[in-house]
């Protein structure tokens, strides 16, 4: 059986205005309009979204897990970027 491959799309939903779009899942569709409709029919059946993005999966550039150390570990030592690094006397109250 020879089956032509229908492109894969990633679906992002905005649950309600004020929130960012969040990855909801993926689906197959021949083109962008079909992908948008399918996203609506598959991923918003229970009021999960008020806005949809569909992106061809092939268009996503991902970082390599093997490079995670190089990319993300150096930041762990920069604790002075966080407010808890600094001391404020209790009497001063919330800052």
């Amino acid at each position: 059986m020879t089956t032509a491959h229908v492109p894969l799309w990633e679906v992002f939903l905005r649950a309600r205005n004020g929130l960012a779009h969040k990855h909801a899942g993926s689906l197959h569709a021949a083109d962008a309009e079909m992908a948008l409709q399918a996203a609506r029919d598959v991923y918003t059946r229970r009021g999960e979204g008020v806005s949809i993005w569909v992106v061809p999966s092939a268009a996503i550039i991902a970082s390599e897990p093997a490079e995670a150390g190089m990319l993300f570990e150096p930041t762990a030592s920069k604790i002075y970027r966080h407010p808890t690094f600094y001391e404020v006397p209790d009497e001063v109250g919330h800052m």
């Binding site: 059986m1 089956t3 894969l8 899942g25 689906l27 991902a62 897990p65």
Partner: protein
């Protein structure tokens, strides 16, 4: 949403894998870290997941057929709408699961081909026929009930995309079992003919449902690896017992009888114990000799084949649009 521990045997991974990487992988699993698509993983872990997730997806898709068999005959508009929504959910769950399997580097088309060629397995429960409306109740109550027992632990599966799909599935499924129970309960409280219908459905679906959890732990070859990898968190027998303990009192509440003369309540352990399971039937149905194996696959195959021209049309149209857009760009550039 249905899963079944019918995974074929899978030899432990060969020594080819770097022992050091294996140890680090296992350490991540032991630390309850999730494994994500591009992370290094042992080949056997990948194979096990592709097989289990795709079987799970196939089960959802084939599972649409026995229930779909009653969609047009649902006895009230309320039941009709609920059943359409439920069967639709199963299609959605199949879709989420195929997507999860695809993150492991295998295309949905390949997985579907494996199903249609008879190479891949799906939950054998769907090789039983739905003969009366009560079967729709029994499937929701028993089959979905059994599936939920299996699926809740899968929400914590070590493979991220599978776990995330299962969380979505479990959330959506919460109405399925209640829907089935309500149908059964209504029939059990209805006319004598309706009650008989409900009892008959329970008689036919009880043992296949109990078998959905797969072979007994004593005979299950690769539970060990799956447990070590936290793909699986409870054994077949543990989940089966949970299901029996939850379901027997529900049957009694409805005034229905579990078709097992050996069934008894063990006051000491608090568990219900059941009689001997007929594993020869289980094996026969898995091997292809169930009441509906051929019928279900034929229906899937026919749907796939008769939809081919539609999928081809959509792809051809998309290609035409691309070409037109490219031509427009070229024309604009030439100006």
């Amino acid at each position: 949403m249905y899963t079944q521990a019918l995974n074929a045997k899978d030899a432990a991974d060969g020594g080819a894998e770097d022992a050091d990487r294996m140890a680090r992988f296992q350490a991540r699993i032991d630390a309850e870290e999730r494994i994500e698509p591009n992370d290094w993983m042992p080949e056997a872990y990948r194979r096990t997941l592709v097989r289990q997730i795709s079987q799970h997806a196939h089960s959802e898709i084939v599972g649409m057929l026995p229930e779909g068999n009653w969609v047009t005959r649902a006895p009230s508009l309320r039941r009709k709408a609920a059943l359409i929504a439920k069967v639709q959910d199963e299609g959605g769950h199949g879709l989420y699961l195929y997507s999860a399997a695809e993150t492991l580097g295998v295309a949905r088309e390949e997985l579907v081909d494996q199903l249609l060629s008879g190479k891949a397995k799906y939950s054998s429960i769907f090789n039983y026929p739905t003969l009366s409306w009560a079967d729709i109740g029994a499937i929701g109550w028993l089959v979905d009930g059994a599936a939920i027992m299996n699926q809740i632990p899968l929400c914590r599966c070590s493979y991220g995309p599978y776990a995330r799909a299962m969380i979505k599935v479990c959330k959506e499924e919460s109405f399925h079992q209640r829907q089935g129970f309500e149908i059964m309960n209504t029939l059990a409280k209805g006319s004598p003919a309706q009650k008989a219908m409900a009892q008959d459905a329970l008689n036919r679906w009880w043992w296949p449902s109990v078998m959905m959890f797969g072979p007994p732990d004593s005979a299950s070859q690769h539970s060990d690896t799956s447990m070590r990898w936290k793909i699986k968190r409870f054994t077949n027998d543990e989940l089966r017992q949970q299901f029996i303990d939850a379901t027997v009192p529900q049957a009694h509440y409805m005034g229905l009888e579990i078709p097992d003369p050996a069934l008894k309540h063990d006051a000491e352990s608090g568990h219900w114990t059941i009689g001997e399971i007929d594993w020869t039937e289980f094996k026969a149905v898995i091997a292809g000799n169930g009441p509906c194996n051929r019928q279900r696959l034929r229906q899937r195959r026919e749907a796939h084949e008769s939809g081919a021209w539609v999928r081809e049309a959509a792809l051809a149209h998309a290609e035409k649009r691309r070409r037109r857009a490219a031509a427009a760009v070229t024309a604009a550039a030439a100006e």
